[in-house]
């Protein structure tokens, strides 16, 4: 059971998330392995004197990286919130149930056959993610299927797609530049050209998700009650799962198999503001964006001058959190 919350918790959570988002986004511009810092960033913002190299680092390296972190974080956190609500499974998120792996496999497949065609990568990622989501959805519909069974099915699918990705990279090592970063999820080396195609899908998907958030509240009443209220439950469930696949697929197409954002962030937001999806969804997107920017910033400076892909840091945080959720699920009425 969740704690009783003070009256203005939602307003405080919105203000805190917004502040966190702004602070880490600005900080991400002047923290890094190079010497470009706050004075250069400030000069860029105010139109002051700035060297060409500093300008190039800020605009061509850090700007796409920050944008990529914002987009990937928002998309994966929103996808996680959608999937958890649609499948009624707190253990579900895009990487746990294999959606990220399905998208990643599709990206490597088209990269192998059509190198340099960035436009089709998000579409392929969406198709890979959607196919996985549909398989998981039908598994979850089975009589007596527990939450952990769905998770195990997702792990099995991830293994299959993982084997497929490794096969592609062994057969065709040039299929994807920076493949090792892609497999663990990372944002170094992301260019603006990598973001041109996925970003409209993500922005559009986020806007649609916020507008249809109330459907998830109705779904939370159970299928029979939602139907009685006039909702076509099956159609909305598939549509919202498709939306989650679109968001996760678009993010994977440039950020790789970035995991656990979609697991950690929605849980944290629900703990803070409750279960009203009209609040949970937009706040998850905002906090997810800030969280990935923050983790990417940490990944850049923790072992400076070396950088680790942000996906590794996410796994260090997300893994224990996932174990905690499994234990809690078994202890409090989880169906094991």
């Amino acid at each position: 059971m969740e704690p009783r919350r003070p009256k203005h918790t939602k307003a405080i959570a919105v203000a805190a998330t917004t502040t966190f988002l702004v602070v880490v986004t600005v900080a991400a511009f002047f923290v890094g392995s190079s010497t470009v810092g706050f004075p250069e960033f400030w000069a860029l913002v105010t139109g002051g004197l700035l060297s060409d190299s500093a300008k190039s680092i800020l605009l061509n390296v850090r700007l796409p990286r920050v944008l990529a972190a914002l987009l990937a974080g928002a998309a994966l956190a929103m996808a996680g919130a959608l999937i958890q609500a649609v499948l009624d499974n707190p253990l579900a998120c895009p990487n746990i149930i294999g959606i990220n792996a399905g998208a990643g496999f599709a990206v490597l497949l088209v990269s192998s056959f059509f190198p340099g065609l960035f436009a089709i990568q998000p579409i392929a990622a969406f198709i890979g993610a959607l196919v996985t989501a549909v398989v998981i959805f039908f598994i979850s519909l089975g009589m007596g299927v527990s939450r952990l069974t769905v998770v195990l099915a997702g792990i099995a699918l991830s293994s299959i797609f993982g084997a497929g990705m490794n096969t592609i990279l062994i057969v065709n090592p040039d299929a994807y530049i920076g493949a090792s970063r892609f497999l663990v999820g990372g944002l170094s080396g992301v260019l603006m050209t990598n973001l041109v195609w996925p970003s409209p899908y993500i922005v559009g998907g986020l806007v649609v998700a916020v507008f249809v958030a109330n459907k998830l509240n109705i779904m939370s009443l159970g299928d029979a009650t939602a139907h009685s209220l006039g909702m076509n439950v099956g159609r909305w469930r598939m549509s919202l799962l498709g939306l989650a696949a679109l968001l996760a697929g678009a993010a994977v197409s440039f950020a790789g198999l970035l995991g656990f954002v979609g697991l950690i962030v929605p849980h944290l937001i629900r703990f803070l503001v409750g279960h009203d999806n009209r609040i949970v969804l937009p706040l998850s997107a905002a906090f997810g964006a800030a969280f990935v920017v923050f983790c990417d910033l940490l990944a850049r400076v923790m072992f400076a001058p070396y950088e680790i892909p942000v996906g590794i840091l996410m796994a260090f945080i997300g893994g224990p959190f996932f174990i905690y959720l499994i234990i809690r699920n078994r202890r409090y009425g989880g169906d094991g």
Binding site: V212, N214, S220, L221, A224, S228
Partner: protein, 291 residues
């Protein structure tokens, strides 16, 4: 305490005969005729190869409380799901207020008939938010916020169900009776003429059962709601209903006023029990003894 007299009611059941397909009224007590709210015509449904509901043909009178009773697995809840459009009958049709239910959109049907599902699970939301969900059939595809009319209906529903004072409570923290009242308030906010209740008193203590049934009677008497409910507690069904429908093995073996159903002995046949009536002042209680 007034003395109670035990009276045994036992008769031979009379099967219900076929009815005219276009009937808009059903016979009431003392030769009166009552308008029909829900018509079920020649409905059959099969889960496996064996028919589960077969050739069901009946009417639910408007502005009356009708209880559907029968042994476990006789098809009561399936019938309610068919009436609500949750499952489609393999043959026959259901008409709500004279219109075929499958010809209506989901939201259109939800503006005519509200169903409180069996064991509806408590959601993680406040009572007020739950009741507000009842306005979903009146909201557009992208609108999720309540307008002034919606708010009025939500307030009225909470007041009628007597739950305004815990509107900000988490539904999951409520007692069983309070929770059921909150769900009934949600169906009231749907502003439908017909309310279907699937086992509304299951898991409730005896006081909460009677409170819920009294609320149901108030909704029928004061707001003119047509109530159709599936109920296992025969004492409650006999006490608080105007009409009863007895089901056995997917068929309706008797449907009439409570006294008329008791007179046929259909309950004895369906449940293999003896029904004993205990009149006390202006009220009557019923006890059942297995054969």
């Amino acid at each position: 305490m007034a003395a109670m007299a035990r009276q045994t009611v036992r008769h031979t059941p009379q099967p219900v005969g076929p009815k005219e397909a276009d009937r808009t009224h059903v016979p009431g007590i003392d030769g009166t005729v009552l308008p029909v709210a829900v018509t079920v015509r020649d409905v059959s449904y099969t889960y496996t190869k064996k028919p589960f509901i077969e050739g069901l043909d009946l009417d639910f009178a408007r502005s009356k409380i009708t209880s559907i009773v029968g042994p476990n697995g006789c098809g009561k809840s399936t019938l309610l799901k068919i009436v609500d459009g949750l499952i489609e009958p393999h043959t026959g049709e259901v008409a709500i207020n004279g219109r075929p239910s499958l010809g209506m959109s989901g939201k259109e049907r939800a503006r005519h008939l509200a169903l409180l599902a069996q064991g509806a699970r408590p959601p993680a939301m406040t009572v007020e938010a739950l009741v507000a969900c009842g306005r979903y059939p009146y909201q557009g595809r992208m609108r999720s916020h309540l307008d002034a009319e919606d708010r009025l209906h939500v307030e009225e529903a909470m007041a009628r169900a007597g739950i305004e004072h815990f509107r900000n409570h988490d539904v999951r923290r409520l007692s069983g009776g309070e929770r059921q009242r909150a769900f009934i308030a949600m169906t009231l906010a749907q502003d439908t003429g017909i309310i279907a209740l699937d086992e509304p008193t299951t898991y409730l203590d005896v006081r909460a059962c009677h409170d819920i049934m009294q609320l149901v009677c108030e909704l029928n008497r004061d707001a003119g709601k047509t109530i159709v409910m599936v109920i296992h507690d025969l004492d409650l069904a006999l006490r608080y209903s105007d009409h009863m429908m007895v089901m056995e093995k997917g068929r309706c073996i008797c449907a009439d006023s409570v006294d008329a159903v008791l007179a046929t002995g259909a309950i004895e046949q369906a449940f293999q029990v003896e029904v004993c009536r205990f009149p006390s002042d202006d009220r009557t209680a019923y006890t059942l003894f297995p054969f």
